[in-house]
Symmetry: C2
Subunit: 429 residues, 2 copies
């Protein structure tokens, strides 16, 4: 993709009202555009990142046998009345349709999925049943803030599971927790498994918390056993001994990037969803729910992975793999060679499945182009200039490294390809 053709370019100035790194950089770099508080349009660069995160989540959900469905956002009142949550969820948008019919905009989907699963579950042999969706949620937040971290409309992956025994529910819970660990690792963020409130019948729920100063949550974390407690439920405080392993507990701020809830039988009982188990005993179906917000993960990545010049994307979710910069010269012959070499590298790499963003602009100085490359944060920057071509080379610089190196033109394609294809390690930056 030629940057000159890309819709949604960088701005010289950061937005004046940005309250967080992700709000600042994502807007300034042309990834998103704010329509209203907590409501964003994803421009092409931003939408590429969002869909890559969604795809990682999808792959890990499919890997544990998840089947993808897609539920509506517009909900009639009745299923929400059945569980008593129509008036209980204070962030739910309510609206009216024709004939004064009441609707809500989905902020979660327990009330929608449970009757569907009830309809398709015929025997204990069908269990466990679990389905997920990647879909947009709506929350009437009093105060939307921090860019993609707390929005009024946002992307959510929600999975719902249905079981005939508490053991089976608990076993599945661990399976999802493992899948979540893989998701966050592939997205390049640390996510600490954290005990939290919210479960029914005294069971804890769990959150995945990404430590960062810009987080809204406070957690107490034991590095020795890698476990944490949300402040809401914590019996320990900063400096205490960890009750699990006697390590030292540290207080930190964090962003909740995922959560998993044991739901008990609250939602199944509301719609009379019972099933005979293999012994013929009729029982209410036990449920769990499991959320990851891909748009919030996108914001969290920026919070933990940026410097004063801009964003630093893990290559797994970067909008492009390679940011190719051509440095213009006034000498026509040499300029032609720069453009020819760049075009050929761009085309060869694209052909090979490497995603290249080529800053081909003729009216920008090298300084402006490098500043834009740093702001956009694609992990590998390749420069072709008079100077590099004098050495029959390209310049290779990784976003999170200080120094550049020269790579021979003849090796460039192959080295870039193997950089792009080598397994991604969270710890590499």
């Amino acid at each position: 993709m030629r940057y000159s053709n890309l819709f949604g370019k960088t701005n010289k100035n950061a937005p004046h009202d940005a309250d967080s790194a992700n709000a600042k950089y994502l807007v300034q770099a042309g990834f998103v555009n704010q329509l209203a508080a907590g409501i964003y349009t994803y421009l092409p660069l931003g939408y590429r990142v969002l869909t890559k995160i969604q795809q990682i989540v999808r792959e890990e959900m499919n890997a544990i046998g998840g089947q993808e469905v897609y539920m509506p956002a517009l909900h009639p009142r009745e299923p929400w009345e059945a569980t008593g949550r129509w008036d209980e969820i204070d962030v739910m948008f309510h609206l009216k349709g024709h004939s004064d019919k009441d609707y809500a905009l989905g902020s979660t989907h327990e009330e929608i999925i449970t009757p569907i699963v009830k309809q398709f579950a015929h025997s204990y042999k069908d269990f466990p049943i679990f389905v997920y969706q990647i879909q947009d949620k709506f929350r009437n937040e009093a105060r939307a803030k921090s860019g993609l971290l707390r929005g009024r409309e946002f992307s959510m992956k929600d999975l719902y599971s249905f079981h005939l025994s508490e053991e089976n529910r608990a076993e599945f819970y661990e399976k999802v927790a493992d899948a979540y660990r893989k998701v966050f690792k592939r997205c390049g963020i640390k996510a600490i498994y954290t005990e939290a409130s919210g479960g029914t019948f005294g069971d804890a729920s769990h959150e995945f918390q990404t430590p960062t100063e810009s987080g809204e949550d406070i957690i107490f974390y034991c590095e020795s056993c890698d476990y944490a407690w949300n402040k809401e439920v914590s019996q320990v405080k900063d400096g205490d001994l960890c009750p699990k392993c006697e390590g030292i507990v540290k207080e930190m701020k964090a962003i909740e990037v995922g959560n998993i809830f044991p739901l008990g039988t609250k939602f199944s009982e509301a719609v009379g969803f019972t099933m005979q188990d293999e012994n013929g005993t009729e029982q209410a179906v036990i449920m769990g729910s499991y959320g990851i917000g891909p748009s919030r993960v996108m914001g969290a990545i920026v919070e933990v992975s940026h410097d004063e010049r801009g964003m630093i994307w893990p290559k797994t979710v970067a909008p492009y793999h390679v940011h190719l910069v051509t440095v213009n010269t006034k000498d026509e012959t040499r300029q032609q060679r720069i453009v020819d070499e760049a075009e050929s590298l761009h085309d060869d790499l694209t052909q090979a499945g490497v995603e290249v963003l080529w800053d081909d602009r003729g009216n920008k100085s090298p300084g402006e182009k490098f500043a834009d490359a740093d702001l956009i944060g694609i992990p590998l920057r390749i420069v072709i200039s008079e100077k590099t071509l004098a050495e029959d080379s390209i310049e290779w610089k990784e976003r999170y490294e200080k120094d550049a190196k020269l790579v021979k033109l003849i090796d460039a394609k192959e080295e870039i390809q193997s950089y792009v294809n080598e397994p991604y390690e969270t710890t590499s930056h």
Copy 2:
């Protein structure tokens, strides 16, 4: 995928309130589930079809240089006030947020995209500009009906284009029309280019209309020159001579599956979006908009491609390429061989990228399985039974053909693969 594991199976009975073939078969076959009038959940089979249609649309939009964005569904009042459409669009849902803030749910996005494009367009060299999204729209329909054809929440691909001359706009219009022809061809439906109302300044808009008795629109179609007029604007009637080619005009019912609109300068003027052209003349930007509803296309495919036993999917959008049926027998050794051969074919094909739905159920008769296969409508049915294995064969039957044939087991994988990979022809069924 083993059918025994699939979430969302067929029902014995068709829904009692279905008013159309798509509402009947999609629900009965477990593709969708109705939450409320005009509001559907896509179950795994249905979501596979929907996303395949969306992907075809995406590929054809990208092929003409379209860049994908993603706009929100929740809109503040202000941009709609600016164009006077806040109160004008009668199907727009309105709702209130905190502090009595007014929102609408997007039924279209001209008001949202135009200010964004204005912000990123700096010079005539940036034009034409066009971006698209695939996103869910909301319409407060007085009467939702006909399954996926007229819903209150539905999938839409909307593209918006921005030009500095009417010629450039008209040229781009033809380019999109050609891309639309490719989309409908790949989706296996006839779509007639039809003159319609709705353009500004006296320009016609155009619709793509799929002829079927269940259509809501009436068009007058000349088969000789393949052009048509929507009844709303038609100067001709059934039996008249075509004013273009003197063929005979025929009246028919049809479903509008796509539309393209010249928008003039209405939306750009509302936000003061002007630009100097290459001669330095300041002018209002000229716009076009272009829609295809993937969910409506899904419904339309069923309307035109079904029989009394169920749906008949084109292989390009079928939920799976192959419906593998094993016929059970009581002889344990022979049953084991049936299962082993099926499993090996299923695994080999899946490995090779062929999508196989295997009806592995042990408690269903061949008749029930065949009826389900016909209802679900996957284009190729493969049967493995005692009888076929006695001939070292599988049975091969295409959904739209009457007769089956035997194919040697040893050739099965290769023949199925080449069937799946051979180019899809709309006319093949």
